[in-house]
């Protein structure tokens, strides 16, 4: 601790250079925060999905429908605690650019299986009682300024009504929020019965089933049992964990995560060069001073430690400010697309990874100059320094 003032003073020696280096580290870590949030957004919050949930869908493709009657048969399979069905509606609200995921569900079952969607009790009751009612996520409500009681017209693209109309209207009966960060707050859920009764085709069919199971350890056994139940039927199923299902869905867009990681790697490599160059210059300029410290009795290891501490303080300051500003911008500023991304937050795990990067950056940028300082021969350095 008593050497910190010396470290601090050395950092302040070339204020402009230190400030620019700090600024580049800050910007790099702000970018890290944003990229981490975008990574989460494109993984659809896969990391926070329940380990005790399985998804059963048509073996051929997700767009193939399954008989609704499967629900009771699935519920009867040992290990299955609860089942909820869902259908992708795929309508358009005013303009195709206004993407909202609309999903038909059976409200009571749905809210039991997806307990991370939090809805005030009176809104829940209002939704259950109104067959044309829907609930929307907080972000979507904010994005389109939806209020409870509003009526939302959705143009059906796949489903038309039996009267030939493709305009569906839903009354907003509730606005749900996520119980934790990472829960998708952009979706619209409405009654499956409303869809099934009003659509002109596909009656009695559904999109997929979400299963809640007793024991996540037995997920593979339950999945096999479900698929075996419908083997050799016209609607064979494929059952996987919800994580694998969502991951597969996310992968259809492309390996965004790998692209983001490559960008991040390039950014950190550049910052490493910037910070490393600053430290190298700083040490080179202070050859005589480092030799003086050794003359006074500072051992080689202590001189190495001082230079490393300097680079750690530089990286630590820039990194801490960058992570904090990144967290603020992501958390307070929110989704830069104005709600298009289902989840957008800076996960705690990534903050910890960022902190680890800060330490690594500090060590890596200071290591070579520190070794150089450690190896400095006093007599030579004093001679070169003009002492």
């Amino acid at each position: 601790m008593k050497f910190l003032p010396l470290v601090w003073r050395n950092l302040g020696r070339r204020k402009t250079r230190t400030a620019f280096t700090l600024l580049s580290i800050v910007v790099a870590f702000i970018l890290f925060g944003y990229l981490a949030a975008i990574d989460v957004a494109f993984s659809f919050g896969v990391d926070i999905l329940g380990a005790d949930r399985l998804i059963t869908y048509h073996k051929v493709s997700l767009v193939q429908l399954l008989p609704y009657s499967y629900q009771d048969r699935i519920a009867a399979i040992p290990g299955v605690k609860d089942v909820a069905t869902a259908v992708w509606f795929g309508g358009v609200y005013q303009d195709p650019k206004n993407f909202i995921a609309q999903i038909a569900v059976e409200p009571e079952r749905f809210l039991r299986v997806y307990d991370e969607f939090v809805l005030p009790e009176e809104q829940k009751r209002a939704w259950l009682e109104d067959r044309t009612g829907c609930i929307v996520g907080r972000k979507t409500a904010e994005r389109f300024d939806f209020k409870v009681g509003d009526r939302i017209p959705i143009q059906g693209t796949f489903y038309r009504k039996s009267d030939g109309s493709s305009l569906w209207e839903f009354a907003v009966r509730g606005i749900y929020a996520g119980a934790q960060s990472g829960v998708d707050e952009t979706q619209l859920f409405f009654h499956y019965k409303y869809l099934d009764e009003a659509r002109e085709h596909s009656q009695g069919e559904t999109g997929w089933f979400t299963l809640r199971i007793d024991d996540p350890e037995r997920a593979a056994d339950v999945a096999r049992a479900v698929d075996a139940t419908f083997a050799n039927s016209s609607g064979e199923t494929k059952t996987s964990t919800e994580k694998a299902f969502v991951q597969g869905f996310a992968n259809q867009i492309g390996n965004i995560s790998a692209i983001l990681k490559a960008v991040m790697l390039a950014v950190f490599f550049t910052i490493l060069l910037v910070a490393g160059n600053t430290m190298a210059q700083s040490v080179r300029e202070r050859t005589a001073e480092l030799a003086l410290l050794k003359t006074l009795g500072y051992a080689d290891a202590r001189v190495l430690g001082l230079v490393l501490t300097e680079s750690l303080v530089l990286a630590g300051l820039g990194g801490a400010v960058g992570l904090a500003v990144g967290w603020l911008l992501v958390t307070v500023g929110g989704d830069p697309t104005g709600g298009l991304l289902a989840v957008f937050f800076f996960p705690a795990g990534d903050v910890a990874t960022g902190a680890l990067f800060v330490v690594l950056l500090g060590l890596a940028s200071g290591l070579l100059p520190a070794i150089q300082a450690r190896r400095l021969a006093i007599a030579d350095a004093l001679r070169r320094g003009g002492a």
């Binding site: 003086l292 006074l296 051992a299 202590r302 006093i378 320094g385 002492a387």
Partner: protein, 229 residues
């Protein structure tokens, strides 16, 4: 020498290489420095004065020969042990002062004390005492750029004596100063020798500076050629 030898150097050899050229800087130098002595080490440029001083202070190691300071074989010490020995026993004063520009006078003087187990308050007391001894009590918070050359060198001397070292080694301490400031520094060193009993070795090629010492030795072409009383 009848007096007890604090420093005993025997048969010191040091070689430098410049490309393929071999330069025998010291060729079998023997030197004793008595405890409490004020010795001037003279000689022309390139005679090996600074090299000898560096060997005596443990900044460099001889390729042959022995150096004992207060009975301790310094030539056998390496790395951290040699650094610890320097911190405990040697105070250095440089021609160009070698102050750290981002530290105040007090900060510069405190540097050797950071290696000791002294607490902050004790360090401050020691720093204040050292600065008072060199007549710069009122300049503690000044940065080197705010001091004159003579004052900077006084800070350098305060830094050298703040740990009360066994040996004070000065390399051309007045070489960068005008005559008046140089005289003040020499007065200070003489005072430290006479009043504090410090053992001082001063490298100089200035006869007036050397005249302040009690004994003068002359080094020429790596050999201790002449001793003048």
């Amino acid at each position: 020498m009848a007096e007890e030898a604090l420093v005993r150097a025997r048969n010191l050899h040091k070689v430098f290489h410049r490309g393929v050229e071999r330069i025998d800087v010291l060729q079998g130098v023997d030197l004793d420095v008595a405890r409490g002595e004020f010795l001037a080490l003279m000689g022309p440029s390139g005679s090996g004065k600074t090299t000898l001083l560096n060997l005596l202070g443990g900044l460099d190691v001889p390729i042959a020969g022995t150096i004992e300071v207060a009975g301790e074989p310094v030539h056998e010490l390496r790395g951290a042990a040699l650094a610890r020995w320097r911190a405990r026993h040697v105070g250095f004063v440089f021609q160009l002062y070698n102050l750290i520009p981002v530290l105040t006078a007090a900060g510069n003087v405190e540097l050797p004390l950071l290696l000791t187990s002294l607490g902050r308050a004790e360090r401050r007391q020691h720093v204040a005492a050292a600065l008072a001894l060199v007549g710069l009590a009122d300049r503690a918070d000044h940065y080197p750029r705010q001091l004159s050359g003579g004052q900077e060198q006084r800070v350098g001397i305060a830094r050298a004596i703040v740990t009360d070292p066994t040996l004070l080694l000065c390399d051309e301490p007045t070489g960068d100063l005008d005559r008046k400031s140089g005289d003040e520094i020499l007065d200070l060193l003489q005072g430290l020798h006479q009043e504090q009993g410090k053992t001082i070795v001063v490298v100089t090629h200035d006869p007036l500076a050397a005249a302040r010492a009690k004994r003068r030795v002359v080094l020429d072409k790596g050999v201790l050629a002449e001793t003048a009383a």
